[in-house]
């Protein structure tokens, strides 16, 4: 099963007029030139200064000349290939292609009580197996399925998570950075012949911390894909207005992009919109809000103009359960993201913002992805699909089309068939036990969990390399005191447990 990108065969939705788009672009350049962006890295500051930026070393502030910004936007490729562990799962980013990717959560939930808890290693690995088996998941990114699992020290969550994804999936994956773990992540990816995508996350407003910059230097040097991202919250870490937050967020992303092109011209970047309105009661991001769609649609329109691949379709619901609210929040955001032409929609699995994930939710979301993918592919209009000869052959009643070779040839190409949606007649539904899409998705999850095999599995040598790199990471963090004795005792038991590492 090769991964599936959906090619949009229609004009993208545009929410900004030409004047509005120009105004946002011009305001962004103004902010970059006048206010500038803070980079907490002497090495980065020197690089910017050498390339014509105005650098204030006392405040780590970089102000960007317009010409440099425009030049770097031109240097970044608008379309590129990325390598997955299995070449059948390689991707081409840019243009009209939209991919769907899984979306992580900090913890799992109990499907009967809806209470959250930390998953086990076995659950973690099995959830990756299910994501690998879902046909519309093209990418299994960082933190996915969960931020970590039981019995491992927090500092090992990212390397262990990446190892889990490489062991149980051959799809394109990503890795984050924290405490220098990107060093180990890069080694693991190289050991299995895959590329990684790693974010370069601004800390809004207008700041990049040292750790982020150090990780970005390493990722760019490794030749991997960089995802400059703004995770601003409008009203909190960006202006409360959508237009203002677009300006502020875009300034951050462009600053990251300029950095990438100065370190290594031609570095492959994808611009990501990871922003939300502020929930003015709880202070949390307002996941599932409709303003996210306005923001993402405008973002996608602006970055299409820049000719940079986009990641503007993050679909977090606010619901704590797999329910109607989760369904409409995800479906609306994913629909608008798709129509506005993003190259990536994050959808499968997440519940309650970034705070929960469940593979059963991923099964249902995979159907939303399939439905939208089908829509994006549009209407095929050819002599054969116009079917004039078939219409003539069938004529009026008693003619019908069910028995026509044309029907058998085309109906499956034309219709998307959901896997977990209830499509029975009312009497059949009663007879089969009144199963809703959640019950059907639970069955499907179980089927994939038991039967899906990663293709190909890691070779013995690759597995040894992964284990060796994990050991180096464990030793490194232990030596630096980032794994406590108590954590280490528990971790050792996990590593020594029967069946480890549950491949």
């Amino acid at each position: 099963m090769a991964i599936k990108g959906f090619v949009r065969n229609m004009k993208p939705l545009e929410v900004l007029t030409e004047e509005q788009l120009e105004a946002i672009h011009s305001a962004t350049l103004h902010v970059l030139r006048k206010t500038g962006v803070r980079f907490d890295s002497k090495r980065a500051l020197q690089l910017f200064e050498k390339n014509g930026c105005w650098v204030d070393y006392d405040n780590n502030r970089v102000r960007f000349p317009e010409g440099l910004v425009e030049e770097c936007l031109r240097k970044a490729p608008s379309r590129f290939h990325v390598k997955a562990r299995n070449p059948d799962n390689d991707m081409v980013w840019g243009g009209n292609t939209t991919y769907f990717q899984a979306l992580s959560g900090t913890r799992t939930v109990d499907l009967d009580t809806w209470e959250p808890r930390t998953p086990t290693r076995k659950e973690y690995y099995e959830a990756i197996t299910v994501l690998d088996g879902l046909e519309n998941v093209s990418i299994i990114p960082w933190y996915t399925p969960w931020f970590g699992f039981q019995r491992i020290p927090p500092v090992m969550a990212m390397p262990e998570g990446l190892a889990g994804r490489l062991r149980n999936s051959s799809k394109f994956t990503c890795a984050g950075y924290s405490m220098g773990c990107e060093v180990f992540n890069i080694q693991m990816a190289q050991a299995v012949g895959a590329e990684l995508r790693t974010m370069m996350a601004a800390s809004p407003p207008l700041t990049f911390y040292e750790e982020t910059i150090a990780a970005a230097f390493r990722i760019i040097k490794a030749g991997f894909v960089l995802l400059p991202t703004s995770g601003c919250v409008y009203g909190g870490t960006a202006p409360a207005t959508i237009a203002g937050s677009l300006v502020s967020g875009n300034a951050e992303i462009i600053a990251g992009l300029v950095f990438a092109q100065l370190v290594r011209p031609g570095t492959r970047v994808i611009a990501q919109d990871f922003s939300f309105p502020q929930n003015m009661r709880t202070g949390a991001p307002a996941f599932g809000a409709i303003e996210i769609s306005l923001h993402q649609a405008a973002f996608n329109q602006i970055w299409h103009r820049y000719g940079i691949p986009t990641d503007g379709g993050v679909c977090y619901p606010n619901s704590k359960k797999i329910d109607y609210q989760a369904g409409y929040e995800k479906a609306i955001i994913a629909t608008i993201g798709s129509l506005s032409g993003t190259n990536t929609i994050w959808i499968q699995g997440a519940m309650y913002g970034e705070l929960a994930f469940h593979p059963v939710q991923a099964v249902i979301d995979d159907d939303i992805a399939g439905m939208l993918g089908r829509f994006l592919e549009g209407i095929d209009v050819t002599d054969e699909t116009l079917a004039v000869d078939v219409i003539d052959g069938v004529g009026p009643i008693p003619g019908h089309y069910l028995n026509r070779p044309h029907t058998r040839k085309w109906w499956k190409k034309e219709q998307f068939i959901p896997k977990s949606a209830d499509r029975l007649t009312h009497p059949e539904w009663l007879k089969q036990g009144k199963k809703d899409c959640i019950a059907l998705a639970r069955e499907m999850y179980e089927e994939i969990r038991v039967s899906h095999m990663v293709n190909p599995p890691l070779t013995e040598n690759q597995e040894q390399d992964i284990e060796r790199i994990l050991k180096e990471a464990r030793d490194y963090y232990k030596k630096r005191g980032l794994i406590s004795d108590t954590e280490w005792e528990e971790y050792k038991k996990d590593i020594a447990s029967p069946g480890y590492p549950y491949r």
């Binding site: 008693p398 069910l402 028995n403 058998r408």
Partner: protein, 218 residues
């Protein structure tokens, strides 16, 4: 000869799986020309239809496949039936079913699904079409000496016609002679019971099981 017979019967089977009406018709004609037992030829096709029906029941095949296979069989049937009549041969069946969509209703898909699967299961089915009046049902039951009547009605406005047919059967004195099955999107168990039908099932594979049960067949 044996080799030739094998090729002809294989082609009949292939015609069903390829939904190929021409191949079905031509192979049936060749079977008759070469003196192949028409019952054996018929059994090859019903065997193939049974496999298609099973795959449909499991959700592996779809309505266009079922209808395509049924059409292929319908292309060959008249040729083989004619030969059976000529030879005075009789094919064992689980029972004779008269099937039709009731008066005022021209929907045929549900009926086709049921008749295809009934045929596959080994029933002899006389499909008398759509928009069928009470008297036409009665005439067909008498003519074919049927022991099961299967009526379809898709719409709420035509489902009541099923009750009228049952009343007509009583008036004609043949209600006890046939078991009556009703089906259609608007029908349910309660309605079937209220109008005095003997059986109802919401699915086509379920209707076959119901037919066997009503006629006391396993």
């Amino acid at each position: 000869m044996e080799e030739e017979k094998k090729v002809i019967l294989d082609n009949l089977r292939k015609a069903i799986f390829d939904y190929n009406n021409d191949l079905a018709f031509q192979s049936a004609k060749k079977a008759v020309e070469k003196g192949i037992d028409p019952i054996e030829a018929m059994n090859v096709m019903t065997g193939a239809i049974r496999e298609i029906g099973d795959a449909f029941g499991k959700g592996e095949l779809w309505l266009p496949d079922l209808v395509g296979a049924s059409d292929a069989m319908q292309s060959a049937n008249p040729v083989l039936e004619e030969e059976m009549k000529r030879k005075g041969a009789h094919r064992e069946s689980l029972g004779t079913v008269v099937a039709g969509t009731v008066f005022g209703d021209i929907h045929s898909i549900g009926k086709t699904m049921v008749t295809t699967l009934l045929t596959a299961a080994g029933f002899h089915v006389e499909d008398i079409g759509v928009n069928v009046k009470s008297e036409e049902f009665i005439e067909a039951i008498k003519k074919h000496d049927a022991n099961l009547l299967a009526m379809s009605a898709l719409m709420t406005t035509t489902m009541t016609e099923q009750e009228k047919v049952i009343e007509s059967l009583k008036k004609a004195g043949i209600r006890e002679k046939v078991k009556v099955m009703v089906g259609g999107a608007a029908v349910n168990d309660e309605f079937a019971e209220n109008i005095g039908a003997d059986g109802y099932d919401p699915t086509a594979p379920g209707a076959v099981e119901m037919a066997k049960k009503l006629l006391g067949k396993k």
